[in-house]
Amino acid sequence: MEIISALKASNLIGLGGAGFPTWQKWQAVKDSPEVKRFVICNLSEGEPGVFKDEYILQNHLPELIAGINLAKETIGAQRTYIFLNDKYKKYLPKIVKETKGKKIEVFIDTGRYLCGEETTLLQTMEGKLRQPRQKPPFPTEAGLYGYPTLINNAETLYRAYLISQGETEIKRFYSLSGDVIDHKRIVEEKVGSKIKEVIPPRYLDKINFVRVSGPSGFFARPEDFEQIASGTGAVEIYGKNRRILEGLINSITFLKDESCGKCTPCREGTYRIAELLNKLIATASLWDRKEILELISTIAKTAEVSSFCPLGSSINRPVASVIENFKQEILGE
């Protein structure tokens, strides 16, 4: 079977977090009238709690390179890049050895969370201001230096290779870390697994709550573990002695510090939510706490609908999950 149809049949989606159907991206670049095209393998993994791409570097590098090659040949790319996070520099000799003679260039950058957004990654590679670009045009139409570009997360390319080798059941790597468990680990389970399927059963009763998909993801109590461990597939465990506001402040502080500063709702919103969360902790009156929480919710919802890029829109995910599920802990209701 031709690879793009195989990808379509497999329902493979981007495993970097956004979850866009992979075959659509490949098809779009392949069908472009432009002769010059690029492939970029995104290895900028910058969110806390996610280390699956590193795991691939350690254990499945040949398959990853084969996946990159597959993408390159399928869409007919002139140049192929690996966008490597600076913290994975130590794997460079290994990558160089593996890519020998394959014409794959490695672009090393401090990466950061921002480069999870495709157009910001492009801006970074072009040496421009690290801010997202207006979409449309999407990178598949006008990407690196204005040419059609396929940007895929490392795991997506790895899985695409496995599919080309005839694998039918698609699995993905879940990064499991946090309190309780002895050391951070990778769990390989099928795509769309529930939270409880990712966490080894013996830990389940020691958990107060978990954060799924990093700071831009959501919080879940044990009773919510029927939910799917979506996004980047990261599951961070918070033990019995941890409070939910601690987790939320961690999320928001990260989003605040990683915001590029371009648009109002994300730049000002994250700053104000962080400010209000600290105020919330210092406030005793439940009446006041409720008011503060409402304002936080309004800011987050505004960011969700009016931010420039998906990273800004994701601010509401942690906030909404906390307000929805942890109201009792915060307000005593």
Binding site: P136, K256, S259, G261, T264, T270, Y271, R272, I299, S306
Partner: protein
């Protein structure tokens, strides 16, 4: 390729094409969408997130920014849904708490966009504490005042610098809430290669970038007059735009009312920079004829625009000999006042203080240049922008449009039509050509109007026939276009004899000291009247102006004569670029 179709806004159908954004269509049909960081001269930054609208395409509903969303067939748009309104309101509220309100010193004053929007959205008081009170202020240069505590981080200054000036003197630094837009690579504009065109100032919606104010100095001068003789002079384009700050449409010529107003403020004499423009034309035309004969240092470039001169002095040292040494009109008029007029009224030049009202912030820098202080120190004492002048009038409760007319003072007040068009791109060129063609042509009716060099395009070219000899000329406005033209000339694709460059789009009428807002439409309206007034003048060539003839007789010199050289010509200085090239 653009496609035409219809879209629905608030249930009503409107014509649209794929080239247009939702905001374009709304503006065309007089539908109001609030917008702060949008400016028609710049590509949409879409960073303020105030122009939100609800868009539905194929049943999918989303909230999008009108400034950056292109129209699509079948789009349905709702402008003021509750969801949109509350998001806009909160975004503005957060921007307002990010903006330290220093309204007293601000450019925008009564027509502040932020204030207007706050009123419109019904924001009484922000729920968030201020967060930038102690941010940086840069007051080191003579032209620009940058106060980052007022900045709302829209990034218009960065795009104005790169899209209009073609430079990279403004950058953003840091990320997230710490982001700062300001002088690149340093803490002050003095450490950059800024040429002070002021295009960023015109497009700053928060008043964070402004001209360095000389209002207090001028008010002090007026209050402590003593035995000083106070002279005011204003630029060709000032008269067409100052009315905008008093509620009049652009392009209204208020020169005679402005004379009255300045006299009311306490100025003893008011002279016309148009007259200075006639002096510039005399000198520059003589220089051009000399260069055409000797074929030395061709092409000749104009040097009226201080931003352009600074640009050449910084980036194109090889072109310095090609600049005409003739000073700009205001700096031709000032020495004429201090050398010729002072003698006439029997006053020592040191007792005369000159205040100029210019559409420009680079004039502040020019007035303080050592090159401009050689015969008289200084030639011009204070340089105000149009905005500052209007503020001084308002401080004294002078309502400009209501005043009666007064004539300029004689003999440095009556100018030719050639002087009148100096404020528009192509004006300097046309004025010089009128004199050159009239002097060189042996025909009875030498050509008077050069329409090819008029208009708002960035680069204009023309071939002028002088008795069979062809003079190739080019007119450029906007420094980015100038860079393009220089590159073409260097590569040899283009060859000219005479080139006019103005740093601001459209020439001085789009200058950095003009009223805010300055948009393509407003520039076109300002320029329309220039040529009407020129056509109405009896004398339309500088050398036919009897007062100019009298001036040269009184100074006992002729164009390029020794006295004229000492008064009306300048020197240039090579400056080294301070920023590293990227």
């Amino acid at each position: 390729m653009s496609k035409n179709f219809e879209i629905k806004i608030n249930g009503k159908k409107y014509k649209a094409s794929t080239d247009e954004t939702i905001l374009d269509i709304a503006k065309k049909n007089n539908l109001k969408i609030p917008a702060l960081c949008y400016h028609p001269d710049l590509p949409p930054g879409a960073s303020c997130r105030l122009c939100l609208v609800e868009v539905s395409t194929g049943g999918k509903l989303r909230i999008a920014t009108a400034c950056s969303t292109k129209a699509l067939d079948g789009m349905e748009i709702k402008l003021d849904t509750p969801k949109v309104k509350s998001a806009r309101k909160l975004n503005l509220e957060m921007l307002l708490s990010d903006h330290i309100k220093k309204c007293g010193e601000c450019n925008w004053q009564s027509d502040c966009e932020l204030k207007e929007l706050a009123k419109e959205f019904g924001i009484k008081e922000s729920r968030f504490p201020e967060r930038r009170r102690h941010f940086k202020i840069d007051d080191k240069t003579n032209s620009i005042h940058w106060d980052s505590s007022k900045c709302v981080e829209c990034g218009n200054c960065v795009s104005a610098c790169s899209e209009i000036a073609g430079l990279a003197n403004i950058e953003s630094k840091y990320r997230g809430h710490s982001i700062i837009f300001g002088p690149a690579g340093g803490r002050s504009f003095a450490d950059t290669d800024c040429v002070f065109c002021g295009q960023c100032v015109l497009r700053c919606p928060s008043g964070s970038l402004q001209e360095k104010s000389e209002i207090a100095d001028v008010e002090k001068l007026l209050a402590n007059k003593k035995n000083q003789i106070l002279v005011a002079q204003f630029a060709p384009s000032t008269r067409y735009s100052i009315g905008e700050l008093f509620g009049l449409p652009p392009g209204k010529n208020l020169e005679l009312k402005l004379v009255t107003a300045l006299k009311e403020l306490g100025f003893d004499y008011v002279f016309d920079v148009n007259f200075g423009a006639d002096i510039t034309t005399m000198e520059e035309a003589a220089e051009l004829m000399e260069r055409l004969q000797t074929k030395k240092d061709e092409p000749m470039f104009t040097a009226c625009c201080p931003a352009w001169v600074r640009y050449v002095e910084t980036f194109h040292h090889e072109l310095i000999p090609n600049l005409t040494t003739t000073k700009s009109p205001t700096h031709c008029l000032a020495p004429a006042v201090k050398a010729y007029f002072a003698k006439k009224i029997g006053v020592p030049p040191s007792r005369i203080k000159i205040v100029e009202i210019m559409p420009c912030i680079a004039k502040k820098y020019e007035a303080k240049l050592p090159e401009m202080c050689q015969t008289f120190s200084p030639e011009v004492n204070f340089a105000l922008t149009v905005r500052e002048a209007a503020k001084i009038l308002k401080n004294k409760n002078i309502d400009l449009p209501e005043l009666t007319n007064s004539q300029f003072d004689s003999p440095l007040g009556s100018s030719s039509g050639a002087g009148a068009i100096y404020g528009s791109s192509g004006g300097v060129m046309e004025s010089a050509l009128r004199t050159v063609v009239a002097k060189l042509c042996k025909c009875d009716m030498p050509k008077l109007e050069f329409r090819d060099v008029r208009g708002m395009e960035g680069i204009k070219e023309a071939s002028v026939d002088i008795d069979g000899e062809i003079l190739e000329v080019a007119v450029v406005s906007g420094l980015k276009n100038a860079a393009k033209l220089l590159a073409d000339m260097k590569s040899g694709i283009k060859r000219y004899n005479y080139v006019e460059v103005m740093a601001c789009p459209g020439g001085c009428l789009g200058g950095g000291g003009q009223p805010i807002p300055t948009t393509p439409d407003i520039r076109a309206m300002r320029s329309a009247t220039f040529y009407i007034d020129d056509a109405a003048k009896k004398i339309r060539r500088a050398h036919a102006n009897p007062d100019i003839i009298k001036l040269y007789a009184g100074l006992d010199t002729k164009p390029l004569g020794p006295k004229a050289l000492s008064l009306f010509h300048r020197k240039f200085k090579t400056r080294n670029p301070k920023l590293k090239k990227k």
